[in-house]
């Protein structure tokens, strides 16, 4: 029995990599839902971003152009979602589902017509991928006990999008809770009529929320295809958009909680890859399937109100209709 083996550095390293796309998608959902627009199309936006970032990176050889293309694709789908659910006051859930289907089909179709490799992009090489960044002094400090290996292996050596994602957490907190825009954004998710009375455009604010959501989903998708992988494979998001939604509920729509929730979910996914460590640490075998299901079980527990209460933004899911 060695309980600390559960926190092996390689497991934590994997946790950071697996949590990053979840974190970006979770923050994306947070902006959108705080603005009163439910978004179950996170998965589709990530998928579209994954494809277009890999495709443009493969064509141009530059991962940065790929990243921009990924964000662009995600923004286009966000605009569709906004148009359907804000301008035309459609059902936000249905629009989200439609986006997921649209992305799943379109990415494979376009990939096949551009590259003829069966719905995938060519493997990215050289400048087409985000390479891991070695932070300053990582090598020099790696001999320092305890802190050295943690800094060299866990903190250093990820691609730049990981650090961007982590910086997004305080960024999101600051925007939402310390700026005028954030106050209005939260208000529009709770009581849009009050915002309207104050003379601020509900439609404009909600489009801004959906737009930020698009950018963050674009980062998440680009990280999957050009940071973690070297190219796009059909359906490669594999449900991460939905896990991010679960994390959002788990985090009760708060930025710092979102970080802890996605790290927890990422850790559960990471430890599920190492049955040998679990058995060594706990002394008995834990079914991998149970670990895979844990994020959802935890979310249900939270939703059922056993641990605190998850209250969504009050005006979420409701299209805003001006009183006449």
């Amino acid at each position: 029995m060695n309980f600390f083996a559960l926190f092996d550095l390689s497991v934590l390293d994997t946790t950071v990599r697996l949590a990053t796309p979840l974190l970006l998608a979770c923050l994306a959902g947070l902006f959108s839902e705080r603005g009163g627009i439910f978004d179950i199309g996170l998965e589709g936006k990530m998928l579209a971003a994954a494809f277009f970032s890999a495709a443009l990176a493969a064509i141009t050889g530059s991962v940065w152009i790929g990243l921009l293309a990924g964000i662009g694709a995600s923004l286009v789908l966000s605009a569709v979602h906004g148009l359907a659910s804000i301008t035309f006051r459609g059902n936000q859930l249905i629009s989200g589902v439609a986006i997921n289907f649209l992305a799943a089909g379109l990415t494979v179709l376009i990939a096949q017509s551009w590259f003829q490799q069966g719905g995938r992009t060519p493997s990215l090489i050289g400048g087409g991928r985000f390479e891991p960044i070695t932070l300053p002094f990582a090598d020099a400090l790696s001999t320092v006990p305890v802190f050295g290996p943690i800094y060299a292996e866990l903190i250093s050596g990820h691609s730049i999008l990981v650090y961007v994602a982590l910086l997004c957490v305080p960024g999101t907190w600051y925007i939402l809770f310390r700026t005028r825009f954030g106050l209005r954004l939260r208000a529009v998710g709770e009581n849009p009529a009050a915002v309207d009375t104050a003379g601020v455009s509900v439609v404009g604010l909600r489009f801004a929320a959906v737009g930020i959501c698009g950018i963050l989903c674009g980062l998440a998708g680009a990280y999957l295809a050009t940071g973690l992988q070297a190219g796009f494979v059909k359906d490669m998001t594999a449900g991460r958009g939905f896990i991010a939604l679960a994390a959002l509920i788990f985090a009760k729509w708060r930025p710092w909680h979102a970080l802890w929730a996605t790290l927890l979910f990422g850790y559960l996914q990471a430890i599920a890859l190492r049955p040998d460590i679990i058995e060594g640490a706990l002394g008995f075998k834990v079914q991998v399937q149970l670990l895979d299901a844990l994020p959802y079980i935890l979310t249900v527990v939270i939703l059922a109100g056993f641990v605190g209460k998850a209250i969504p933004p009050r005006a979420g899911g409701e299209p805003y209709v001006k009183e006449r």
Binding site: S10, Q229, G231, V233, R274
Partner: protein, 334 residues
């Protein structure tokens, strides 16, 4: 989904108008997709070879969801396609349901298993454990650490069958070797999750593995990529995947799905049905891929050992235990 149904309807209508003239064979790809660089792509290559050689045409559809299986089978059968070839174990159930309704149509299922085979159905299986045994031997000889890895896609008996043969091959060369086995997941999404494939590869590397065998469809793309990035060897599956990372892929376990599809299409309406066909080493149904991309990695010693084991397995002197025999593996615990 309704859009998909419209496409299906349109393709079925096309098929109806074409089918009246001559019975064409039909090929239904499983969820992995036609160009998975692996199992389904091999099926497509077999069909293409048949079409190129005979000038014939074949109907095809790529499934998008589980719900379409029976629907696609019925549409093809009603349009007069014959034989209707399906790839993947998951088609066994829908085929056994649909086949009795169309007694004049021949159905072929690759990889599937049914307790009772209807008279107009032929099941084609492969001795994957034999081919996996051979690549397992090569893995053990190429490994310097004495630890090798196996990454499966969806956790089903077929994939355990691959892993079991592989582990037996490894132990035959080095009885002290450690074989680490991981499955990607328990749902069909496990065939298309390269990110998880990559992380599993990294996890196995941190446990000391230096040769990793991926039997995981699209997930394997991530495994081979990460193995190449981390400078260890990988082993591909089903199709020849050596070229994906030239010089980094030790070999590929070939499963000649293309041969099975080609033979079925060639036999056409007159093919024999109502039983099982098993393609093993003797029939060249499974094998080891050797080409210009891996000849620097494969030593003469490996080739000799593989050739010898191959002869022994064919002659029956060496028996590779199939996972199906006891639903367990003698040398590997999943």
């Amino acid at each position: 989904m309704t859009l998909m149904q419209k496409f299906l309807g349109a393709s079925a209508a096309l098929a109806l108008s074409a089918g009246a003239a001559l019975a064409e064979p039909a090929l239904i790809f499983d969820l992995g997709g036609k160009f998975d660089k692996s199992f389904n792509e091999a099926a497509f290559n077999g069909a293409k070879r048949w079409a190129d050689e005979t000038g014939g045409k074949f109907l095809e559809i790529e499934l998008q969801s589980e719900a379409q299986r029976e629907q696609a089978l019925r549409r093809f059968a009603e349009s007069g396609a014959n034989p209707v070839i399906t790839t993947g174990f998951a088609f066994a159930d829908p085929v056994s349901v649909v086949a009795p309704d169309y007694p004049d149509t021949k159905f072929v299922n690759i990889d599937g298993w049914m307790p009772e085979v209807p008279a107009n159905v032929q099941l084609i299986g492969f001795q994957e454990h034999q081919g996996s045994y051979l690549v397992g031997m090569m893995a053990a000889m190429a490994s310097e650490s004495g630890t090798v890895g196996f990454i499966g896609g969806m956790d089903i008996p077929l994939i355990r069958h691959f892993g079991c043969g592989f582990a037996q091959g490894v132990k035959a060369i080095n009885p002290d070797a450690t074989v680490i086995a991981n499955m990607t997941g328990t749902t069909p999404a496990a065939w298309n999750d390269p990110v998880k494939g990559s992380e599993l590869t990294k996890a196995q590397i941190s446990q000391g593995a230096d040769v990793i065998y991926a039997a995981a469809g699209g997930t394997g793309v991530g495994v081979l990529q990460t193995a190449a990035d981390e400078d260890i060897l990988s082993i591909g599956v089903d199709s020849n995947q050596n070229y994906l990372h030239s010089g980094k892929v030790l070999t590929s376990m070939l499963k000649r799905v293309d041969v099975a599809v080609y033979d079925s299409m060639k036999a056409g309406e007159g093919m024999e049905t109502g039983g099982f066909t098993t393609l093993g080493l003797a029939e060249e149904g499974v094998g080891v891929a050797l080409d210009e991309h891996n000849d620097a990695l494969v030593t003469d010693e490996m080739e000799a050992a593989v050739a010898e084991a191959r002869e022994k397995i064919i002659s029956g002197d060496l028996e590779v235990v199939a996972y199906y025999t006891n639903d367990s593996c003698p040398v590997l615990d999943f």
